[in-house]
């Protein structure tokens, strides 16, 4: 087996749990445990799931002028947020293309914490340093920080109990320093599954202790450890975009339907002028959700063309994500299509490996928690 892949501090634990490990951006990560993706997905929807996402990148941005730096980097109102707030934002290029999507955590006017996509860590930190040119210190703590996500309807009460009742009052998209099962961590009420939950950042050395305590608490509740396979099916049902699939340098947040995370009033961040024009004048293509018609058994995957056989050339768009809707049923996905075809109910045709498959545009999230 390959040994040159990077391992998180929980790698041994995954092995003991019988995880199947795959190469994910150079990391040896669990794609599923013994229960399998479908059961893991359902455990998160019905009870609670634990995810090792320690491969993600973490950094601190610090200094007396850090707010100016963060203001330039982020499309959302991060710099002006109150301390204790977690803010989802895009990082854009001057073209409006997306460098990454990430969450900033405002600790104080002088200090921000940020969690970025694993595969973009190096690129993002270089981008921070390059663009902020000494306005702040950028301290990479990825190699010493572990991250465990606890997601599902039973997650809040479970983690709150392990934290001695200190975390139950934390509201959505806020965070606090906490002690969970005796482990010091930063607890944020955030996630990537469409469920309520926490993401807990701790020191590498403490990660196995934290994970073991969480798993012991989760098991009697019907909880499971969850691999990257279900992480992907969960985020797709919740219509949460994935960088590298649905977001990239060639598409803007407005095209991706993330205009809600682009705040333009009295602001001038990197990419703002392009995004301002797109918000005012509209865009030519848009990321939409679709459902494959139930008469057909097929899944659309990343890269499959959206076609119209009555026009030349027939390719009018591209599928960026797709797969089974494990809790919503059927085959679902996301695709960039011309705006004229983006309204809910519009029929689409997707070329699934040489077979034209009918699909319909669906608005909103495929799955919404009750």
């Amino acid at each position: 087996m390959s040994t040159d892949r990077r391992k998180t501090p929980l790698w041994d634990v995954h092995k003991q749990l019988g995880a199947r490990l795959i190469d994910f951006g150079g990391w040896d990560m669990p794609v599923q445990y013994t229960a399998g993706t479908i059961k893991e997905h359902k455990a998160v929807r019905e009870a609670v799931g634990l995810f090792d996402v320690s491969h993600m990148g973490e950094a601190y941005l610090r200094g007396p002028r850090v707010r100016e730096a963060v203001e330039q980097l982020t499309t959302n109102n991060v710099a002006a947020a109150p301390a204790g707030k977690a803010v989802y934002t895009l990082l854009c290029r001057p073209s409006g293309g997306i460098v990454d999507d990430c969450i900033f955590y405002k600790r104080s006017d002088d200090e921000f914490f940020v969690i970025v996509n694993a595969s973009n860590t190096t690129k993002d930190l270089e981008w921070f340093r390059e663009q902020t040119r000494g306005l702040c210190d950028v301290v990479d703590v990825s190699d010493e920080t572990s991250l465990v996500a606890v997601q599902g309807p039973k997650a809040i009460a479970m983690v709150d109990k392990l934290a001695g009742g200190t975390l139950g009052a934390l509201t959505s998209f806020t965070f606090a320093d906490a002690t969970v099962a005796g482990v010091r961590c930063v607890a944020a009420r955030t996630g990537y599954t469409g469920e309520d939950g926490f993401e807990l950042a701790c020191a590498n050395a403490d990660a196995p202790k934290l994970w073991t305590a969480l798993l012991e608490a989760a098991t009697p509740l019907g909880g499971l450890p969850v691999g990257l396979g279900a992480r992907d099916t969960l985020r797709l049902e919740a219509k949460l975009p994935l960088y590298g699939n649905d977001l990239d340098d060639d598409h803007t947040p407005i095209e991706a339907g993330l205009g809600w995370a682009v705040k333009l009033d009295n602001r001038d961040f990197i990419g703002a002028s392009v995004l301002r024009a797109q918000k005012a004048n509209g865009v030519t293509r848009q990321l939409v959700g679709f459902k494959i018609d139930e008469s057909v058994r097929a899944f659309a995957r990343h890269g499959y063309p959206v076609v119209d056989r009555n026009v030349t050339p027939p390719v009018i768009g591209t599928v960026t994500s797709g797969g089974p809707g494990i809790c919503v049923g059927g085959a679902i996905g996301l695709a960039y299509v011309p705006v004229a075809r983006a309204a809910a109910g519009t029929p689409l045709t997707i070329d699934c490996r040489g077979k034209d498959v009918p699909a319909t545009v669906v608005s909103g999230k495929f799955y919404k928690r009750s």
């Binding site: 993706t37 099916t233 058994r297 494990i326």
Partner: protein
């Protein structure tokens, strides 16, 4: 790894074959199933279709990926496991039984000599 049934023959593409009268019953091995994860769709040819050794005869989709199924021998499809349409998960739970896919009446018996024994297939898999 659990052993591969010794009464079956195998291909490098992780399919198994079992002599079934004058035909070969075909499915995928436990190793393939473990690699794929939860199977959500199996697309198979129709009875009477001709398949060519090494060519795609169907597709199998798991939660995460889509894979081609390659014909292990050339011949005519004499039976198709229609139950997989509504219960593709049978391939996960019982790959050598309820998870079988098609039966092929082979053109040339000589092709069959190239199929692997359980021991050879075990060697092939452990090299992966």
């Amino acid at each position: 790894m659990t052993g591969f049934p010794s009464d079956l023959r195998y291909t490098n593409d992780h399919e198994w074959l079992k002599a079934q009268g004058t035909s070969w019953r075909v499915g995928i091995t436990q190793f393939a199933v473990d690699q794929l994860g939860d199977i959500t769709l199996v697309d198979l040819p129709k009875e009477g279709d001709l398949v060519t050794k090494g060519q795609r005869f169907g597709t199998i989709e798991s939660v995460k990926s889509v894979s081609d199924l390659y014909a292990p021998v050339s011949g005519r499809v004499t039976a198709v496991n229609a139950a997989l349409k509504d219960a593709p998960e049978s391939v996960n739970s019982d790959p050598y039984g309820a998870g079988w896919m098609i039966e092929i009446e082979a053109d040339e018996s000589s092709e069959v000599d190239e199929l692997l024994s359980a021991a050879d297939y075990t060697t092939h898999v452990s090299a992966q």
